[in-house]
Amino acid sequence: MSAAGERARSLRRAAVTLLVAAALYEATARSGLFPPALLPTLPAVARTLVATTLDGTMPLHALHTLTRVALGLALAVAAGLPLGILMGRFAAVEGFVLPLASALMPIPSLAWVPVFILWFGLGDTVSILIVFYAALFPMLLNTWSGVRAVNPLWLRAAQAMGADERKLFWKVIMPGASPFIIAGLRQALLRAFIAVIGAEMLAASDWGLGWVIFDAKEFLNTDVMLAALVVIGCIGFVLERLAFGALERATVVRWGMVRAAKE
């Protein structure tokens, strides 16, 4: 069978799977085995999704969540990138930061939520700091690995050709480390998105997708929960696929640092 034919068959099967899964769910929901409050039908979920989107609450929740992710991630990049570069370039910095990072990294970011709640009160600060904590280590360690992985031959060649420190940094080290840095950024973003949902559930502010889901539990609004899950899934998917594919194509692929992903 040709590649195109096989692809068409895969797509067809995927569609069938999803339809069957949806039909099974719908049948279970309508069978009356479980209370409808716990297992709402798909049309009910869709209606809730449309209604909350149209009245602007769901977009606003998403906006709050994304703002927290953006702020936390920006802080993590602002701290992790320079520190990672310094660690890669200076053994003294590496010797000081690495033990601390290795000790803090295995602590799940959510473990800090109760402490941060006591220190900073309920609200945005806690969520943003938790995102920062979650995103910092992938950023830091990937940058560090990237700078260390720059081929020493390139450094010496550039020096032999008369590159000064500044040129060496911008023309050799940064491009050389960029695949790692972008990998770190991607990992940091995914961690940040995971962390923000948990932080919003526990640190109870009034807005945010995590808070919606948790709040809906109190009132058995399972349709709201599932609608919010759909939104979270879409955002996760978009973050993963679109944002970084484009960034990678514009930088490391164009510089020939990594092969373009197969089409």
Partner: protein, 274 residues
């Protein structure tokens, strides 16, 4: 470069030197902690913040000793580890089986992949309230959620691993007369094993991260997540920090069993990093 060391180097002092080097390395590792610890102590004793919120290290240590001696902390640790083991074992079993099925059968792949791809990008804790509604507060929800969330990396990696087994190996084994069970046991499983191990390690790390959060939400009576979250009610910051220290130690142990070796077997061996 060891080969450049002159052969006449004094040998008697080697053990002494090695002990010395180890001591120096330990000092170097301890130094940053001493600096941070001293800074923490200085801030805690300066009275800038209420000591209930920013306890000095000695009261955190005292809380750690008190809780350990009374048996409360070991109980929390045991429950957490049990949940981790149960959830992870479930995920490993189902994840590896599903991953192998997806790697071997085109039909299984076409059927399962869309469902797995839809579930994967949703942060694990987002499912937590749903699981709590469906399975009730407590252990069942916690364990099922840990299993569900940590199964994704296991499925993906096992699937990739089985697909990465070289076609030539499979065909030559078949040409040499291997039947299906032998093909599976002697070619496919060993070929996919590095990926499966990677998946298991990632899954374990995922399970650990999610478990601490779940224990805060699922209202389980014991567990480290609950210990630190419950301490919030009584402003017991020292108990919280003691709990976090224990979480760090367990996480570090998991990670060292896990990631150190992972790195040795992959990036270091492939010569990508020193």
């Amino acid at each position: 470069m060891p080969e450049l060391v002159p052969a006449t180097a004094p040998r008697a002092s080697v053990p002494a030197e090695r002990a010395n080097a180890r001591l120096r390395a330990a000092t170097r590792t301890a130094f940053p902690f001493l600096v941070v610890g001293a800074a923490w102590e200085a801030v805690a004793h300066a009275g800038l913040f209420p000591p209930r919120l920013f306890p000095p290290l000695e009261s955190v240590g005292a809380a750690l000793v008190r809780l350990t001696a009374s048996g409360i902390l070991p109980h929390h640790v045991a429950e957490t580890l049990l949940r981790l083991a149960a959830g992870f074992a479930l995920a490993a079993l189902v994840g590896v089986a599903l991953g192998i099925a997806m790697g071997r059968s085109r039909r299984a792949e076409d059927i399962a992949l869309p469902l797995v791809s839809i579930g994967a990008p949703i942060p694990g804790l987002a499912y937590a309230p749903l699981f709590l509604l469906w399975f009730g507060l407590g252990n069942v929800s916690a364990i099922l959620l840990v299993a569900f969330v940590s199964a994704f990396p296991i499925v993906f990696n096992t699937w990739t691993g089985v697909k990465a087994v070289k076609d030539v190996w499979v065909r030559s084994a078949q040409a040499m007369g291997a039947d299906n069970p032998r093909l599976f046991r002697l070619v496919i499983l060993p070929g996919a094993l590095p990926y499966i191990l990677t998946g298991l390690r990632l899954g374990l790390a995922q399970a650990w991260r999610i478990l601490v959060g779940v224990e805060m939400l699922a209202a389980v009576p014991w567990g480290l997540g609950w210990l630190i979250f419950g301490a919030r009610e009584f402003l017991n910051t020292d108990v919280m920090l003691a709990g976090i220290a224990v979480i760090a130690v367990i996480g570090l142990a998991l990670e060292n069993l896990v990631f150190r070796r992972l790195e040795e077997f992959t990036v270091v061996r492939w010569g990508m990093m020193a």
